[in-house]
């Protein structure tokens, strides 16, 4: 393992108006490692990954990708860094006006010199990887929620990213479909050896796909460890969350 993390986050702060969402967050993700960030809904998990990929600009703190400081990068530079990423959105965020193959091949169409027939071939292969062969010419509106997520996943891996970001990959799916998404995530990590950050509040999924789990609470990552360390953690916040208890130190405000 190299001594430089793929993602290094230090003292990240982000507020919206008076609401402090991230308040000095620190995190390292090593090459090929799968880190799962857990936490309550609305605690700022999405904000964290949106800062990493540059959809949101943090107020303070630094993010380094492969040792390159992106919080100071100009826009042009940022696009070069974004090509290292693939992101799966919570509701897939497929482009409604484009066919499945145009969605999956979007990045290739814009950022490579490949001709449409070659792109279709690559798309076909990616769709086969996610278990959706033969859907090239369908429209996103014809797909179910689980199928949309698979296509979203195919789109995210089409450019062969080095880092994957998963925003609630299993939310809104039945347990069986959710588990097949988990399997896909593990398969992608093993086949493509990508580092990933997954945010979720689905503990079944977290235990299955994580190398390390980190819990976000009140803008800070309050506990980080392997699956077993988190399961056995004596932190009362972690215990309340992973066992899904209404009673405990975390209260609705």
């Amino acid at each position: 393992m190299s001594d430089q993390p793929t993602i290094r986050i230090r003292g990240l702060k982000k507020s919206f108006g008076n609401k402090v969402v991230l308040d000095g967050t620190n995190l390292d993700v090593w090459p090929g490692e799968s880190v799962v960030v857990i936490g309550q809904s609305g605690v700022g998990k999405s904000v964290l990954i949106k800062c990493i990929i540059g959809i949101l600009t943090p107020d303070e703190g630094t993010i380094e990708i492969d040792g390159e400081l992106i919080t100071a990068a100009g826009f042009r530079n940022m696009d070069a860094i974004r090509r290292k990423f693939g992101m799966l959105f919570q509701y897939a965020a497929l482009f409604d006006s484009l066919k499945v193959w145009e969605n999956v091949g979007f990045g290739l169409m814009r950022h490579s010199d490949l001709k449409p027939p070659q792109i279709r071939e690559i798309v076909e292969e990616k769709l086969r990887m996610v278990g959706m062969p033969g859907t090239l010419d369908m429209m996103p509106s014809e797909l179910s929620g689980g199928m949309r997520k698979r296509v979203g996943l195919a789109r995210a891996i089409a450019m062969e990213p080095e880092i994957m970001l998963y925003d609630e990959p299993t939310t809104g799916l039945d347990p069986i479909r959710a588990d097949s998404i988990n399997d896909l995530i593990i398969q992608l990590r093993e086949e493509l050896c990508v580092a990933s950050i997954t945010i979720t509040h689905d503990m079944v999924s977290a235990y299955k796909i994580a190398d390390r789990i980190s819990m976000l609470h009140k803008g800070k990552l309050i506990a980080t460890g392997t699956v077993d360390e988190i399961r056995d953690s004596d932190n009362p916040y972690v215990q309340q969350f992973i066992h899904g208890r209404a009673e405990g130190p975390i209260r609705d405000e």
Binding site: K50, I55, D79, G86, M87, D96, G107, R110
Partner: protein, 258 residues
């Protein structure tokens, strides 16, 4: 207490309008810069030209024909009082080309196209499709707003020329077939007093109105917040905002250009 809360209301509204005007200007500079960024999104622009230009034709045609027709009716009943029925053609032609063609066609297009831009971009915003564009290293303003802006800028003048022509035809039809004016008099009086600048200034106005429609429609959609309800609000604001801006800028353009 009443007065203070009233003033408070006026102040908040003023600030929010100024805020939105600022957002418009920032978006406009980004779009203008985006137009010169290579590669130009030609395919998307042509798609939008079809959507904005070709698909708006029926609405614009009907609006123009009936406006010209009613103008002929009204002018006739007014001008008959001092024996100037012969000038109906002139009044129809000048009103259509200078004012009604550009303004009415643009307001109809604002209702049709501005609203759909706001709804489409607004939906893309709330379903994270705009974020997805960013993650795929694609500038959403270059990809979404520039084609709509350029297409509206190019197509509105064409629509207005159509509107001018059809308004005059509508007026002709009513004057000749309903009111019994002689066809030669109507055509002669139309051509006699119509100057090229009447039409050309209308075309310049149309280009400006096109930019307003696209800019406001895209702005309201692009910065939508708050789910489906937010998309609905954005759509309304796009139509109302663009229509009001068209009417206001119409006055200043008229004062400036004629």
């Amino acid at each position: 207490m009443r007065i203070i809360s009233g003033l408070n209301w006026v102040g908040t509204r003023t600030l929010s309008y100024l805020d939105e005007a600022g957002v418009s200007l920032i978006l406009l500079t980004k779009v203008l810069r985006g137009i010169f960024k290579r590669p130009f999104p030609l395919r998307l622009t042509i798609q939008q030209m079809e959507e904005i230009g070709v698909r708006s034709l029926p609405v614009v045609i009907i609006t123009a024909i009936f406006t010209g027709a009613v103008l002929a009716l009204q002018t006739y009943s007014g001008f008959k009082r001092f024996g100037a029925e012969g000038l109906v053609g002139t009044v129809v032609a000048l009103s259509m080309t200078r004012e009604l063609g550009p303004v009415l066609a643009s307001i109809m297009v604002a209702g049709r196209v501005g609203s759909s831009m706001a709804a489409e971009l607004g939906t893309m915003r709330v379903t994270e499709q705009i974020d997805a564009l960013i993650t795929m290293a694609t500038d959403p303003i270059h990809y979404l707003v520039v084609p709509r802006f350029v297409a509206a800028f190019i197509m509105l003048p064409f629509l207005v020329v159509f509107a001018d022509l059809l308004g005059i035809i509508g007026g002709y039809f009513v004057a000749v077939n309903v009111l019994g004016t002689s066809s030669t008099i109507y055509i002669n009086r139309t051509l006699q007093y119509l100057e090229f600048s009447d039409v050309s200034v209308g075309i310049i106005k149309a280009a400006v109105f096109g930019m307003i429609i696209a800019l406001i429609g895209c702005q309201m959609g692009f910065y939508t917040e708050g789910g489906a309800e937010g998309v609905g609000r954005a759509t309304t604001k796009a139509v109302v905002g663009a229509s009001i801006l068209i009417l206001i800028s119409n006055y200043f353009l008229t004062a400036l250009l004629f």
